[in-house]
Symmetry: C2
Amino acid sequence: MRDLARDARWLSINTATTRGQWDLRQAIDGVARAGIAGISPWRDQLQAMGVAAAAAAIRANGLVVTGLCRGGMFTEFDRAGLARALDDNRRAVDEAAAIGARCLVLVVGGLAPRSRDLAAARALVRDGIAALLPHARAAGVPLAIEPLHPMYAADRACINTLAEANDLCDALGEGVGVAIDVYHVWWDRALEREIARAGRAGRILAYHVCDWLVPTRDLLLDRGMMGDGVIDLKRIRSWIEAAGYAGSCEVEIFSRENWWKRPGEEVLATCIERYRRVC
Amino acid sequence: MRDLARDARWLSINTATTRGQWDLRQAIDGVARAGIAGISPWRDQLQAMGVAAAAAAIRANGLVVTGLCRGGMFTEFDRAGLARALDDNRRAVDEAAAIGARCLVLVVGGLAPRSRDLAAARALVRDGIAALLPHARAAGVPLAIEPLHPMYAADRACINTLAEANDLCDALGEGVGVAIDVYHVWWDRALEREIARAGRAGRILAYHVCDWLVPTRDLLLDRGMMGDGVIDLKRIRSWIEAAGYAGSCEVEIFSRENWWKRPGEEVLATCIERYRRVC
């Protein structure tokens, strides 16, 4: 395993982590000032700043863009509305290309409106990604399917295990891979095997870290800082690296009541310290 | 599929559903008054009423006891404390036998204290159930492993899919089966296959229903009434019945802000109406 204690070369900050206190311009400045190598913006923040201005600021600070969050949501308007979802996803691909993002992270969408049919949602997601792929391939932007925790199956993503994401990648071919976020997959007894499988296929496009708090007080906005919860981060990273991944550890923490209320500099300093010690 | 619209013969009420308003004596009376066939008590309520008094009241009202909730928590004191957990589980078996429960439901426990090792927790659970089995077999009480939603992996149960529960049953042999609660497993793409597998082995000991609300406001205490959420209840019951299950639909709803605040009679009347129409 790589020794993370020495520098922050493989650390990246997903801007969701400082969403409570910083806009994207502040986040770019803050990340660069902290000596962190990478950043991963969210689209709403990117659009608020302006894609060209953000691309210039990221370039000027020499930051690696480990991903753009997020495309997907193919089920948002049900099957009849897939074309609308695809239009938005093509724009997301273009934005990812404009800022030099290593991948476009896909949160694929949950059940379609007024539907209880998970199998239909999963078929719609498969068809949506297939329809998006030609544009993504032409733009040189890999699509990263992020399996989300089963507690988000209804409203955010109906792809809920790494095995499902791997199967989907197998079916879709070149240009699509996975984003592995420990928060979503840490509980899965098949995790080591499926990480190895993703590695063999060369499709691990991103690795996200945070922690699972006990108790967790909110389904969405109570993620923990690495080391404050129960996820065995070093063990999972050992699997990821054994699978050939040599990219960044991207910190993505949604924390309305804690980290979003602290000064951004403190959040980033804590991210660095935890990355060095517990990731 | 059985026609549930005609009577409440296969309906059972888990007393967690009326925990906010009724003790066990009131729940037994209320369930019997409503013409519901089955009940499934929790141990704390059973002990508060007294096991002998509860057994007599249940018998006097002619109720079927579809389960006792709950044994398990084998990881509560870590491996060194397993003997304590086993003592309590043997008492749970005896209580289940005393009230004529069809099974003792096992919520197996999450991570051991100060541990991040899920594999170790799973091994401890396997060893705990194996150690409990001779007592359960002698008492004639089947043990029902309930896979819990992955969002409870840390603090309640490290068995998080029906596939895991089935594997565990395969390893443990006679006297152990599964309790299938739609709330915990509805998201799982392997659900139909694993229900069929459990059915082939004759090990579906209980079937629990409620619904998954969107949004869900609390990880533990915001379950929905059947029909108010997104779970495809009829489809899952079709799988369960195709697998040979002919037992009860047991309603188990933890709902601090809604159903626990309403009169018990209203809750039960709603359970009956939804059982007939949407289960």
